[in-house]
Amino acid sequence: MTDALIETHGLTKTYGSFGALNGLDLGVMSGEIYGLLGPNGAGKTTTLRITAGLIEPTKGKVTVSGFDATKDPLHAKAQIGYVAEIPILYESLTPRELLGFEASVRGLAKDSMNRRVRQLAEAFEVTSAFDTPIATLSMGTKQKVAIIAALLHQPPVLLLDEPLNSLDARSSRILKELLSLHVQRGGAVLFSTHVMEIAQRLCSRIGIIFRGKIVAEGDLNQLRARAGEKDATLEEVFMKLTNEASEVENTVRTLRESFFDDEDR
């Protein structure tokens, strides 16, 4: 018996002949922020969407708090708060209507839920937009509404897909604090990003995903050891482990030559 709140075993997702995930195994423990780090198209979003129950895996298994996400989706989803990379919300509703809808469907208790909504809305400064259709809000405000929706029912598991992308500095700071509090209370966070600094500062453990597989995981020191680069930054470790260092160098060289050629002309 493990205390992992999220576990995936041999997770595979194919679209035709393209393999988005190729037998991905990972575990996120209680009290842990796990950063899923990888280039575009590596399979980060697919992993999160399968875990959230939005798509089904072609093969393999995901459990959330012990519930099989495919066989017992209702119980699994009750444990999850999910923030997508591009906020997925009913855009013709106002934040008030959307959060009321979510709270009703989840069967939350009115008083405590309303207290939480008010606190979160004030913290993320969205109270003034509560009666404005979501379609007309800025991307940052939509992101804040999506974050409030994910936190509303105080789920033990948070799945966050690049959640800091559109947030201002204040809201980013608040979210990071909330995540720390969340894991201190025994929750787990699976966090996808391609920003090295965020992963380095926020995550207790990092999994490097490349071509649909975890190629390395651990804290920064473990990853450095794996890459054989003692004082390397996470970016350098990442490049080494994904074999992208030489390819990036070649690309930069080509671009440089191309730009110089243009200037000559």
Binding site: A52, G53, L54, P73, L74, H75, K77, A78, I80, Y82, A84, I88, L89, Y90, E91, S92, L93, T94, R96, E97, L98, L99, G100, F101, E102, A103, S104, V105, R106, G107, L108, K110, M113, N114, V117, R118, A121, E122, V126, T127, S128, A129, F130, D131, T132, P133, A135, T136, L137, A149
Partner: protein, 538 residues
Amino acid sequence: MKTADAWRLSAIPYSEMAFKSILQNSSNMWWGSFGRGSSEASGQEDLVRRALRIARFDKLVITVFVIAAAGAPFLPQAMGASYGISASVTLSLAVSFALIVLYGVQTLSSFVTSGPSPVLSTLPLMQEDVSLINLLSFVRTSDYLVVGSVACQVFFVSILTSSILSGLFMLLAGAVNSVMGVGVALWLSSVFYRNIMGSKQGKRGGALRLALLLAWGVVVLGIGVLFAGAGYLIPLVQSVLASPDRLTGSILSLVYPFSLGIGVGSIAHGFAPTLVEKFALGAMVVYFLIAVAVSKWSTSSVASFPENASGATRSERTHDASVALHGPVTAYALKDLRAASSNLTSAFLLTLPAFETLIILLMRAFLPTLGTSTVLVAMTLGGMVSLIMPLVLVSTEGTGFDFAKTMPLRMRTIVSSKALITTAVFLPAVAIVYLESLLAKPLTSPFSIMIPLASILAVAAASTLEVRLFLGFAPRGRATFALQEFARMAAGGGVVLLPATIYAVSYIFTFNHAFATGAMFAAASAEMLAVTEFVRHS
């Protein structure tokens, strides 16, 4: 920039605008739903594909429909009917005006909320060139419709009157009519999407939305009445125009689009206009001037959209962040209703069964009593029309459906909520039949009073089945997607038709209304039970 170059370039912002308008109002994508797999119903990629498909074919399909509708009022004369041409021209102008408005509102939503193409403003183009491209993109929204309908009207008038001058007057009347139609569509879109969608939802916004919906309903009901009653309307209008009662004729000659119809008709008679025709020709000049003003307003509005659009929304501050709670089914139904009422097209579909029933009753207005067959036909057709709602409600989900999918929601909660809305949408039709029987006409059989109740059960069963089929089962075989989607709607239609058929067959064999009504009730109840079991176990 040359106008020809601007015209060529305007094709790209126009396509983008049409695509965005359709994507923005996913409930408008209900007909594009055919041919998609339910398993990927909410996927962004699927929605984009559907929107592209609709954007590509929508204008073409609507143009064919508009040309047919504009030409239909001339057919009786083409087939030898003896009355004058004024009524046909009037009817043709009314229908094409309403259809241009209907289509324009759907296409212009993205135009009025974000401008035709914000990208244009970032390119090194002169502001005048950007404005010209914007204007031509706007022209493209209805170019086929306008050219097609006006050409059709000019063709028929020229042929039927054998007068080139009449044809030229028809060209002028058609141009005035089209400019007015496009102007009204632009105004309606601006008011609805900018002032209502873009601001705080308050009582004022709600009242305005209701007023717009009613105005919209009148337009659509008008089209329905024009189509349903064309055969009666043309001779009726023509007899009013030909009657010696000068007052009625004079009033009609000033009313749009009668004045245009009478004006065009007067030219066909030669150069000796009657007093009524003189009034109509005078009114035609006034409407021409109004059309010029509308055209200037539309042009200046469109040219300034890039600047206006960015400030299209205004948010009003609120200080209370509390939310209201409901049961899951009610919450889901409320969410669907809010989403569906946020655009004119889907909002009006909510009232369509009532309008359909009203049209059927109007068509039988000449009968002194409300016969069982009328009640049965009105309820069955009203029920069938209601069954468009499941597809609209499923389409309205759009990309937001992913939000619902992350929640611990049972399939039957979603199915029940959408079936509840569909059944509720049918209820006003039932109320209209009861009101007609109570206030205007007695029922021929007292047992007919039970028919609407059995129909409610049948509609509830049919909508439950249809929603479940749309949400839950992916069609197999890409080539037959569309057929399978139609089959799902047909399954719902069959559930509504079956109790009515059982009533008819029972009555034919027994001549007993009580027995036939009982059989209909039993059939509808059995359907409801069977569908409930199916949803529970599937």
